[in-house]
Symmetry: C2
Subunit: 195 residues, 2 copies
DNA sequence: TTGCAAAGCGGAACAGCGCTCCGTATTGTT
DNA sequence: AACAATACGGAGCGCTGTTCCGCTTTGCAA
């Protein structure tokens, strides 16, 4: 359960051949369905798209969150790893924070319903929330601390609140052309500057 | 459908006696259930709490959104009416905006799941979104314009985006003690000031 | 090659949801 | 007291997520 997604057999090829093949098929099908119908698409749709039964999906990914995590793991990891890099390549820590936040927002906004799922209180999605936090909170903390140390921003907002705020601002951004989450997040970051 | 909530018979006592009594019973039951189980509580729970059948609830309130609107109508109206008043009693338009936003945030944060329902893309909740917008967008626009005219804030963010941003920031605030929506909204408003 | 656990698969089945529909009961008017 | 008109209750439909178990596939061992 707290194996942070995927199956017990990890990604190495230890299981039976058909099992490995189905796992990959499911990941591809899920990715495709998430794009067209959003992250909260019916599990049956994913199973159908993969040409697989319901049982198979739940054996490979015990909970929906595990499937979502598996699909987006690479991109979340990339986002996490970009943090320290940005800190060295940006003119100031505050600029690095801004760029990293842009990266995160772009990721969330382009994944239908992901931001909403992250904050959803429906059972089964806490794992998703936890994974994002585990992976990104340390990076965000590092960037925030650096920017605070350089004196550019106030230091009375912790990384958790910032990330939740950003995640919240991204909810519904993909389905409402009148709403520009990037702009609002930028405003929020602007509000962090010392008065 | 676009009668903005409630029933055709409005609140006047034109219908049968038992119908009027049941409508009030339902409003009370819904208010009570919303407090304990949130706005997205099962309709059956509300019917049970009111000691009434499913049919009754849907005849009085054709959609869930209508019921939610009916329960909170007074408070939303109060919030809308407070806007112009604040404009005259506050030292500056920007201060009025800040106080009004606080009012709105306090309202959202104390109603379990209301902020989430507002942005929910589940069918049947667009009416709720529309009602809040109809009622509050003009007020927010007025406050925003006044603050922009006084030169205190930038004028390139419309009231719609601001309200959506605020609503989004309030999601989940009532069930996460580490997250303070009021603070983040304040930061967002701070970000509106001219640089 | 063949036999046979072990591992994996499919989808029927269950529970919980919103919402509809219609036979029955209540009202108030004649 | 009789009778429309109105309103009520809850069974039932379609949709979710999730579980469970009889059947199939796989791969090792003989």
């Amino acid at each position: 359960m707290n194996d942070s997604g995927q199956d017990a057999g990890s990604s190495a090829g230890s299981r039976r051949k058909d099992a490995r093949r189905n796992q990959q098929t499911l990941l591809d099908a899920a990715a495709a369905v998430f794009v067209t119908s959003g992250v909260e698409a019916p599990v049956r749709d994913i199973a159908a798209k993969a040409g697989v039964g319901m049982g198979t999906i739940y054996r490979h990914f015990p909970t929906r969150a595990d499937l979502v995590i598996a699909v987006y793991r690479h991109q979340v990891d990339a986002c996490a790893e970009a943090g320290p890099a940005l800190l060295t390549t940006s003119p100031t820590p505050h600029a690095a924070l801004g760029r990293w936040v842009d990266l995160f927002v772009d990721f969330l906004v382009t994944k239908h319903g992901l931001a909403a799922a992250l904050q959803s209180d429906s059972a089964g999605f806490e794992t998703l929330h936890a994974y994002f936090l585990d992976r990104l909170l340390p990076v965000c903390t590092q960037l925030l601390d650096a920017a605070a140390a350089s004196g550019e921003i106030r230091s009375d907002l912790d990384a958790y609140q910032l990330m939740r705020g950003i995640g919240n601002l991204c909810i519904g951004a993909e389905s409402d052309s009148r709403y520009d989450a990037r702009r609002l997040v930028a405003l929020l970051i602007a509000g962090l500057r010392h008065p």
